[in-house]
């Protein structure tokens, strides 16, 4: 009886321990992030000061973090209302990126994989090809159908996420989130 209780306890502990570790690595680690709006970044990922969760997550996804002199990657999996980004819906990404010499914005699968090339439009845009307004802000439409202006194609995609990569940026050293301007992601309805 006593042995049975101990074995049961060990089994439960094993399931809880492994399960909780798996769950905390499955999603984007919420540890040691900088966050603003729907966007999240891990400025210490890939450095010596990296937290164990970020390291384990990078090892699992196979990603290589950008170096401190290279830049910072920001990810958004939801819009500003908290809904998951879907390839069937349209979104307006508007505002400004944190200060960077160059930035790119790309559509990926929700897990970070490559989407097959779109028949029409591109899956990624660079800051040098973006049309801006007079005040320096921009509006990008993320939609499955062609759109006027800056268009990111989510054609044929299911659950998606946005990856904004800021190159040669000061955003890595930002500690106060107030200095950190990110574009808003506004849902514009689904098909």
């Amino acid at each position: 009886m006593r042995a049975l209780v101990i074995i049961l306890g060990v089994a439960i502990a094993f399931v809880l321990g492994v399960g909780s570790a798996f769950l905390s690595l499955r999603d984007l680690t919420p540890i040691d992030t900088i966050e603003s709006g729907a966007w999240k970044g891990w400025p210490r990922a890939g450095t010596e000061d990296e937290d164990p969760y970020s390291r384990a997550r990078l090892a699992r996804t196979g990603e290589l973090a950008l170096g401190p002199s290279e830049g910072l990657k920001l990810l958004a999996r939801s819009d500003d209302t908290g809904g998951d980004l879907s390839g069937a819906c349209s979104y307006e990404i508007s505002g400004q990126m944190p200060a960077a010499r160059l930035w790119t914005i790309a559509v990926e699968t929700a897990a970070g994989g490559h989407l097959p090339p779109a028949e029409r439009g591109g899956r990624a845009l660079g800051s040098d090809e973006i049309v801006r307004k007079a005040d320096g802000t921009f509006t990008i439409t993320l939609a499955p159908d062609p759109q006027p202006g800056n268009w990111l194609s989510s054609e044929g995609a299911g659950q998606i996420r946005l990856a904004a990569r800021l190159y040669d940026t000061t955003a890595r050293t930002v500690t106060a989130l107030t200095q950190f301007t990110v574009p808003a992601i506004t849902p514009k309805g689904c098909r």
Binding site: G9, V18, A56, G62, E70, A106
Partner: protein, 203 residues
């Protein structure tokens, strides 16, 4: 009278010390689960075979830069910017220093030296380059001491990076959003050098 009787009955149903034992059992489960959780988190990077380093190591060699997919052959490597052309080269400073040199295209480019665990030892972007050219020498601590003794000419424009670990992977990223720029970036990458550079004997 009735009250005492009830207590007596409960004592017979539940053995003495049951709740204390249950509490200890739950606490033990919690502590064990927490330690398993921590062990798993720390083991994942050590056991992962699909981490970025292993994927790059599988396709790169010590002789020059390898063009990474989609421009090169092989399975896609996760997390690379689709608007960039990437090249990687394996570096070993065990026997001799490694020399890295290339001239970048006119747009943004950057380079990172990755260690076995996937951490960045050193990174640099095109702002550091002199006339768009980057010359880098990667040495281990002993070679670095030898290098400082000889201080031969021609190293003024070379970035010297000391690495305590012998194995590194250099990953170059060239910004190339258009097909034309991609072609130019690929040509720059094919002309890039990444090779062992034995130190000349002092004297």
């Amino acid at each position: 009278m009735i009250y005492e009787e009830r207590i007596g009955r409960r004592r017979r149903l539940i053995p003495e010390g049951f709740f204390g034992g249950l509490l200890a059992w739950l606490l033990a489960i919690f502590l064990l689960a927490a330690s398993i959780h921590i062990v798993v988190i720390f083991l994942v990077p050590r056991l992962a075979s699909s981490d970025g380093w292993s994927k790059l190591a599988a396709v790169t060699t010590e002789a020059g830069f390898t063009l990474l997919p989609p421009d090169g052959k092989g399975p896609a490597i996760a997390g690379l910017d689709p608007l960039f052309v990437h090249g990687a080269c394996r570096i070993s400073v065990k026997d001799a220093p490694a020399s890295l040199s290339f001239s970048g295209p006119n747009s943004f480019w950057s380079l990172a030296l990755y260690q076995r665990r996937g951490t960045v030892l050193f990174s640099v972007n095109d702002r550091t380059a002199i006339d768009g050219r980057l010359d880098m020498l990667i040495v281990d601590p002993i070679q670095n001491a030898q290098l400082k003794e000889t201080t031969s000419a021609g190293l003024d424009e070379t970035i010297v990076v000391e690495s305590a670990q012998p194995d590194l992977i250099a990953l170059v990223r060239f910004y190339a959003p258009t097909p034309r720029e991609r072609q130019v970036a690929i040509e720059h990458l094919q002309a890039a050098e990444c090779l062992p550079a034995p130190l000349e004997p002092a004297g």
